[in-house]
Symmetry: C2
Subunit: 473 residues, 2 copies
């Protein structure tokens, strides 16, 4: 039996049993109490330390529970063999860099942002609060594909505004388009997808991450070309027909029907339609979706997000699956819980059901349209109408600006960045054939731009792009 | 030129341009306006229909935008070729069954539920509201791995209560353990994982869905056995050391250090530690995590969830990654947005930071402990202490009940179900070697059980399990 060299301090933070536990554990770990050592009896140790027997018993039982001691009936507590494996310096000592993020800039013209001031704080907050008090049952697990009422409401909304034809059972709600696309891509792994070039790189990253081979197919003035699609040998095609990202091309009906016919020619062919910002068509109403054109049983996997219509940080997106894919989805993911908080789903449901969503959309649409017009006006006036060409005014939340003064895209982006304007060149969206990219064209995402920033932004861009290139690298 | 047989009705819901658009589209789709047809000039049609020229122009422009018409300069509008592809009966007509869900029952003893009445509605609601008004910037995109302050707070919490050793940069926040495990499993695809048998089937489903091969390894009284692990040839092992699911075994320190040593023997070996309910240890404090034992740079992928400590429907979980896996994680998922609403992340952060979380946990712990004791007492009294054996009283939110009257597990589950008690037999958690499952043992998840339901539940179980089996199948 070992006599423990211990002193415990009462009234000093940690309870006595905790101090005792830590001391003994420290000695075991330091090798001072080798395996097989018999510890003092509870009574004798309690006398030695002037603490209660219960205190000793608690500490011993903790060490038994953790596997450091063994209690042998009628003979006492013995140290068990453990292999010390904690790396030297157990505490977090190694500094690991934080994930990379773009540096902040004075004018952020990246795409993917929205104007957070347009968010319906009051209504959203009220509904959120009502739900928390009225509907505690929402704390339990909900339906895996998403709240039934939300899918119903989303289905009706998509039918009315996007011409989507589906039943609520075909809708899956999830924490973002990336998540949902990842799930469906996984079901299609090993297949080949034709992906628009230029395009939204994140789509192809997700497809590739999930084992789908991507063939980048150049788009023409009507979007993805059928000849190129046929040549690619793909079984899948991934398109943004309402508003091609980033060139703003709208795919006309003829091309759409060709795509659908292509998909129907062979079983297992699917079209992934990313309808990421159809809410923001400013002149005429948005084109109905390809999904609706293909019909309820058609070959289109339809993706829609609330990132732009509400906020990117409220992670709600949905997808519509063709019935046979839905079946495979349920087989594979039947045990996965839904990824969106039920409160958030129900808040969105009540927001849609109360008519707030369509009102909110029309408010956003007016605000964005006015901003876009103000930006176009300011750019034209400040840079000179003869020096620029603007595209993408009818829809979406970004413009394409082509500078006709001979400055290269690279130089435009670099100089803008130096002047505090964060933007990307069109060529950044080319996964292949970058040399075919129209010259001197940049993308201006204006959704998060303050109105008051528009005149200074235009001034800064003129300054940056029109100065003689003196002293730059 | 074609003379359109049209009549428009003013004051009748749809705007005139919309009616005109629909009529022409209908005729194109019906083949009444074949490709190449020249439509009437805008002025002549406007006179014919007694509407403004603008009305006709809007309708024509919509059809141009959608690719049904082509505007040829100085010659007018012509119908383009489109292939009609909408499936017969375009509207959602096909009925698709809703995803399957278990039938409701009078007493739900499934695991995975929590007592929603313990949820801190008031504090949570207040923080949520404050954030909505105070922090509109949370509507924009946040850090991909999760809010920095939340990762900091979670890191401190896990260090204090679970002995986890990591820096906040190693933590990834995501919409549920399933989502996070899926991401990490995907990084390990093609590898083989040893998975506890019996165990939590969803873990192996997720691993398999992501291309990890699962070998089911029988556990012994100390959890996953090292010999079996070595025999399995696995490079990964997936364990619940704090509280094995569902047998409630706690893995002792000796076994833990063996596991860590196993992982250290070869580069690329990892231990996935699912610490799913360590918050609910009732007698002594919970065992420190295997992750902490392995150290900050150790081989443990640590998973923790707020499903049980807050609510299953609030989708927040987190994982701690070893540095080299973190690097691969960032390479692969560097462009993925976080899946948890920033508001929810910040609400949780403020909830933890304000000290509410630890108070909430201790409140839950007391309530669950009292409920568990009440349930044990009622079962023992009602079924007879000599007839039952109860395990798992020290930790977690479920008990194992073994009936010693000779009734089979299958019969126990069936009769309980008929009497309105939803529960599962232990054998349901065996992926292999079901014959080695202890006889007549069922799992009682008591977290969602009302106190008032305990006496009638015990009575119903006695009635169901002790009656002579007359007239049953």
């Amino acid at each position: 039996m070992y006599r423990l060299p211990l002193t415990l301090r009462s009234g000093d933070g940690a309870p006595l049993y905790e101090q005792l536990y830590s001391s003994i554990l420290g000695q075991i770990r330091a090798g001072e109490l080798p395996a097989g050592t018999r510890l003092p009896g509870k009574r004798s140790l309690s006398q030695q330390l002037s603490v209660g027997v219960n205190t000793v018993d608690t500490a011993y039982q903790m060490l038994v529970a953790e596997g450091y001691l063994e209690a042998r009936p009628r003979s006492g507590f013995f140290v068990l063999e453990t292999v010390e494996t904690v790396a030297p310096g157990g505490a977090a000592a190694v500094s690991i860099p934080e994930e990379a993020s773009p540096p902040p800039c004075r004018f952020d013209l990246s795409t993917g942002s929205v104007d957070t001031e347009l968010f319906p704080f009051r209504t959203w907050g009220r509904i959120q609060k009502e739900l928390l008090y009225d509907a505690p049952e929402l704390l339990s697990h909900g339906p895996r594909q998403g709240e039934r009422v939300l899918r119903q409401a989303v289905g009706e909304y998509l039918a009315t505004y996007r011409g989507v034809v589906c039943s609520p059972e075909q809708i899956v709600v999830g924490a973002g388009t990336e998540y949902l696309l990842g799930l469906v891509a996984h079901l299609l792994q090993g297949q080949t997808a034709a992906v628009e070039n230029p395009g939204y790189q994140r789509l192809s990253t997700i497809l590739q991450n999930n084992g789908v081979v991507c063939r980048f197919v150049d788009i023409d003035s009507a979007g993805l070309s059928l000849e190129a699609l046929e040549r690619s040998g793909a079984e899948l095609c991934c398109v943004t027909p309402s508003h091609h990202f980033p060139t703003a091309v709208t795919m006309p009906a003829g091309r759409r029907s060709q795509l659908l016919r292509w998909a129907r020619e062979r079983p297992g062919r699917y079209i992934i339609e990313d309808d990421y910002d159809a809410e923001f068509r400013f002149d005429t109403r948005p084109l109905p979706s390809l999904q609706g054109m293909g019909g309820q049983l058609g070959p289109v996997i339809y993706l829609s997000t609330f990132s732009k219509s509400l906020a990117p940080s409220i992670r709600v997106a949905c997808m519509v699956l063709p019935p046979e894919l839905l079946e495979r989805y349920r087989e594979t993911y039947g045990s996965y819980a839904n990824t969106v908080s039920r409160f958030e789903q129900q808040t969105l449901y009540r927001f849609m059901e109360g008519g707030y969503f369509t009102r909110h959309l029309s408010r956003m649409r007016s605000a964005y349209k006015a901003r876009m017009e103000r930006l176009c006006e300011a750019l034209s006036t400040t840079l000179g109408p003869e020096n620029i060409h603007l595209q993408g005014r009818h829809t979406g939340l970004h413009l394409l600006l082509t500078l006709k003064t001979g400055l290269s895209e690279e130089e435009m982006v670099r100089r803008a960045g130096e002047a505090g304007v964060g933007l990307q060149g069109l060529s950044a969206y080319y996964m292949e054939h970058r040399s075919t990219c129209p010259a001197s064209t940049v993308i201006l995402g204006y959704a998060a731009l303050r109105d008051a920033d528009i005149p200074p932004l235009a001034g800064v861009l003129r300054e940056a792009w029109q100065r003689r290139d003196v002293g730059s690298r």
